[in-house]
Symmetry: D2
Subunit: 147 residues, 4 copies
């Protein structure tokens, strides 16, 4: 389950707004950081995916804000692969303070497109080895969930 | 219905990412621009709200991406007040290209807090005149919808 | 001299930081907005430059901060073409509050590269019509300065 | 000299622009990350400085761009305290790829203000212990430079 270890990072000053906490748009960026970190640790380098002519645009995102992260504090961002069928990939996220307090939850949904034609594609045909990893991760996650 | 006239702006270069379109987190920022512009046109200056000791943090946001906005193009962002009860305020958004193509839809939900105590408050007690405007706007919008 | 009319925009909430003013990195982004707006008004669309295979990366930027811009206020950003020789292009900037107060000054320097090879190029060979405009603008500006 | 060990971080996707490299404004933000990390490792927590009613706004920044950082690559950001007299603090920066290639150099200059009055102050009176650290750091750096 180490694939699901959180991505850790500190809150930067430029991410705060005059409310004194992180601006709500930045958590969406942290989701991206955590998602790509989680994939990298599992053997999928998103940079390599793009280098091979495939892009993974975001089709949907939602985010619930419980409490604001503050400048300088360390946060843990958990990215869980929830669903994958070769055409759609969904992640769930939890952002927690170091003491475990839940700050933000959210989800993102992605499709896969050809970088040149910008048309949707099935990743199973284009990158089968990458699909195996994503399928395995969603299974591991689902099993962990059902316990 | 002129309150619901769209907020117009151009796409900035720094808002694009290496996919060649606007990064998905930036549309959340455009929602904010359009929401505050719409409120300002209706007589509610968010800066003044904060100056009077009230903040309006985001509790929820969701966003569906149909097509990416491109650098230099002009976009129209429609912000509609969907629900308001003094404690919660919900907006719906549509981002369209100048030719009418729907690029992004989304929603945001807000509460009101005291700037010092950071505790939730009912805007009806604190800013009745502001509440009247928000209530009227949601009614106008609902009527327009029911036509 | 209408080419040198300022670019106007409002300060967005997400551009502030917890100091209660615009984060210093964002003025660099405003320089970009004003530079491209000024070029567009003069007949040079940067999007078209890139579409024709030329990029104009930033080689240098400097910025002096006199006073911070505040959320909601309107600012005027003046972008002046200071120097152009086909290979290098330099702009100077002034950001002012609506009442004329000087907030920020700065400069940026740019070169031109081929989008594919990423090698420097002389714009005079590649886009002579664009060079004529830039040369004229620097002359007009220099004359205005010498008055 | 371990205080001058670089701050390391990866390039995030949302930091790139459609030129395919990091947008030039983001390096200014990396300077901030590295500066605060360097101060923290030396015993100065900027969050604590603000908590004690002092702010350290940026008065000047300059940046020279040699080569663009790419998505996914790891970079090292060196932040060196160059000058400090209690009223002004200057840092120099170098951003390097992991293989040592110099990507960006720059400088920032800061003053100190009272958080309430927003008036300049001499840090020697307000935070002598913090001044000792900053003075020592500039000396260590100057000695290293003179070798």
């Amino acid at each position: 389950m180490k694939d699901f270890a959180p991505y850790k990072r500190r809150v930067f000053y430029y991410e705060t707004d005059q409310m004194g906490v992180v601006h709500h748009s930045n958590y969406i960026r942290w989701f991206e950081e955590a998602r790509e970190d989680m994939m990298r640790r599992s053997g999928i380098d998103y940079g390599e995916i793009e280098a091979r002519g495939v892009m993974m645009p975001v089709k949907h995102v939602d985010c619930d804000y419980k409490s604001g992260a503050k400048y300088g504090e360390s946060v843990e961002i958990f990215a869980f692969p929830r669903y994958f069928n070769g055409v759609r990939l969904r992640f769930a996220y939890e952002i927690r303070a170091v003491d475990g307090t839940l700050l933000v939850t959210g989800q993102s949904e992605h499709c896969f497109i050809d970088a040149l034609s910008r048309k949707p594609l099935n990743l199973k045909k284009r990158m089968p080895e990458c699909c195996e990893i994503l399928s395995r991760l969603t299974e591991i996650y689902a099993e962990g969930q059902s316990l």
